[in-house]
């Protein structure tokens, strides 16, 4: 018997299990490229869970932005680095106490957050997209560009500033670098490069047979 709700639940647990296993892989795998790949898998299965929750725009945006662009560059950098595994494991004991403290604080904060949310909001409200009779993507777009226009624009501005800052930080003024100027190359005329000279044809002197003894080839 295919029960839709039952099937959804099974799918949710399957995706959640994959997410957790992949997330554990990120921090336990020895090979750094494998670790990055399991981070990709974590993102991908998180997107699947969001699709189950009918947040289609968020799910696909996660894949396009993180899996399709950010993680590709990340993978790229990790592949270029030649990390020695012994070096990575060297500081494990030294950093362990700090790591445990950070993890405990984060756990406490998350539990507090869940507790506060649970007290304030007993039941989640109805899906506003379904209430408005729109698809998830259309509703999100409408909300972002009307109700939340100002925060949206501010976020865009902050990101732009971040991009400009990153470029400026890595910009080095080097002297003696010769750049190719594509616009100058396009603007060039044949006349500037080649001069065609008219001149009378020269008649070479008729070859004279050499006097004296002949040589045989």
């Amino acid at each position: 018997m295919i029960d839709t709700n039952m099937f959804q639940l099974v799918c949710f647990y399957a995706f959640a299990a994959v997410t957790v296993v992949a997330a554990l892989g990120v921090i336990t795998l020895r090979n750094s490229v494998h670790a990055v790949l399991s981070l990709v898998l974590t993102f991908f299965s998180t997107a699947c869970i969001w699709l189950l929750a009918e947040a289609e725009f968020l799910a696909i945006a996660l894949i396009v932005v993180y899996v399709g662009a950010v993680m590709v560059l990340f993978l790229f950098v990790v592949m270029m680095l030649d990390i020695k595994q012994e070096q990575v494991r060297e500081g494990f004991i030294k950093y362990l106490p700090v790591g445990i403290i950070v993890a405990l604080i984060m756990l406490g904060e998350m539990l507090a957050l869940i507790g506060v949310r649970a007290m304030h909001q007993a039941v989640m409200g109805a899906d506003p997209a379904a209430a408005a009779g729109m698809s998830n993507t259309a509703w999100l777009g409408t909300a972002l560009y009307t109700q939340f226009l100002l925060p949206f624009e501010v976020a865009a501005l902050i990101l732009t500033v971040g991009v400009v800052a990153a470029v400026v930080l890595t910009l080095r003024q080097r002297t003696g670098v010769r750049h190719q100027q594509a616009s100058q190359q396009v603007r060039v005329n044949a006349r500037d490069r080649v001069r065609v000279v008219k001149m009378a044809a020269e008649v070479p002197a008729a070859p004279q047979p050499a006097p004296g003894k002949e040589t045989t080839p």
Partner: protein
């Protein structure tokens, strides 16, 4: 209950096979056609020995590839080396789920079809990068590096082109986008006229995204032998080949669907049978674009790597950003008619 299982499990599988099997056959014929066209453009015969007009050449090549050994290079990363061709192929085939062939013929008529396509085409690069890294070869790694930078750069321009289309159409659903291009004026209702620069940029970005000539620095036979798949042989190589050609055909389908009215007729409806919308019109348009891939390959020399980056970042992205604004104005002031209303 039996009927339910049939409708929910068996029918989708049959539909999927109805798309994938013709696609694979088309890839084989497309390879044959490419070699023929290149031959004609070089004033030679092309394949002409096996079957009539050399038609069975592609099938003979596939058979040969499948019975060859898949060689594993020394100290290659075994698991990733074998997984990479599959990772390249899966998104190339999965993207076909949302392609509409007709008013009714579409596997999944999803609302966010355009976003789904963007997501799937952005995943294809993983196969290339992993193949390049796992092969433990310098040529392969160089090819993978070039490919990753190129695909990410051109994905931005391509995404902005799609934004222009969806601003005009007001929908992410591919079937709705085609319907938005319907009208009484036939060819002049298509999005390619108000979005002409975007249309050209989209197709060029598509060529770059599939790593085809003149943007084939990822393979670059004369520089880095064959780039990311230099170490692959036999069926693993065949999978890369299949993924590349499936992606080319996908781009050839998307360009007509987004900009040239998909299955709509270029002639007004008053022309009788010629004015009717038909899947044949879609195939004619797809054939034109698929042919252009080959035409480019025979005509243009390979771009230099820094010039590819310049073209993507300094030419295409500024033009498309400006055209997003232009498209917004067109929509806001009603300069273009969308749908049959006009």
């Amino acid at each position: 209950m039996g009927e339910q299982i049939f409708n929910q499990v068996v029918m989708p599988v049959i539909y999927i096979l109805c798309i994938v099997l013709p696609l694979v056959i088309t890839v084989a014929l497309y390879v044959w056609w490419e070699r023929k066209v290149l031959g004609w453009m070089h004033v030679r015969m092309g394949p002409n020995k096996i079957g009539p007009f050399g038609l069975l050449q592609a099938f003979a090549d596939v058979t040969k590839l499948l019975i060859k050994e898949v060689i594993l290079p020394t100290s290659a990363n075994k698991a990733l080396y074998y997984m990479a061709p599959l990772i390249a192929l899966v998104p190339a085939l999965a993207a076909w789920a949302v392609i509409p062939f007709n008013d009714k013929m579409v596997l999944a008529n999803v609302n966010a079809g355009l976003l789904y396509l963007l997501a799937m085409t952005s995943l294809g690069v993983y196969g290339i990068i992993l193949a390049g890294w796992a092969s433990n070869s310098r040529y392969a790694l160089l090819g993978a590096m070039r490919s990753a930078a190129q695909v990410i750069s051109y994905e931005l321009a391509m995404g902005l082109c799609l934004v222009c289309v969806l601003v005009l159409a007001g929908s992410l659903n591919l079937t709705d986008i085609v319907h938005a291009q319907a009208g009484s004026k036939g060819i002049f209702d298509w999005f390619m006229w108000p979005l002409l620069p975007v249309f050209i940029i989209y197709f060029i970005s598509g060529v770059a995204e599939t790593n085809r000539a003149p943007f084939d620095v990822a393979e670059g036979e004369s520089e880095i032998v064959a780039g990311f798949h230099v170490e692959y042989s036999g069926s693993a190589f065949a999978l890369f080949f299949l993924a590349e050609y499936a992606n080319m055909i996908l781009i050839s389908f998307l360009a007509p669907i987004l900009f040239m009215g998909g299955w709509l007729s270029p002639l007004p409806a008053s022309w009788g049978l010629l004015g009717q919308a038909s899947i044949l019109w879609l195939f004619v348009k797809v054939f034109v674009f698929a042919f252009m891939f080959l035409w480019f390959r025979a005509s243009f020399p390979r771009y230099r790597y820094d010039q590819i980056m310049r073209l993507g970042w300094k030419v295409f992205i500024p033009i498309t950003i400006v055209w997003v604004l232009v498209a917004g104005c067109m929509k806001f002031f009603g300069w273009v008619t969308v749908g049959t209303g006009g």
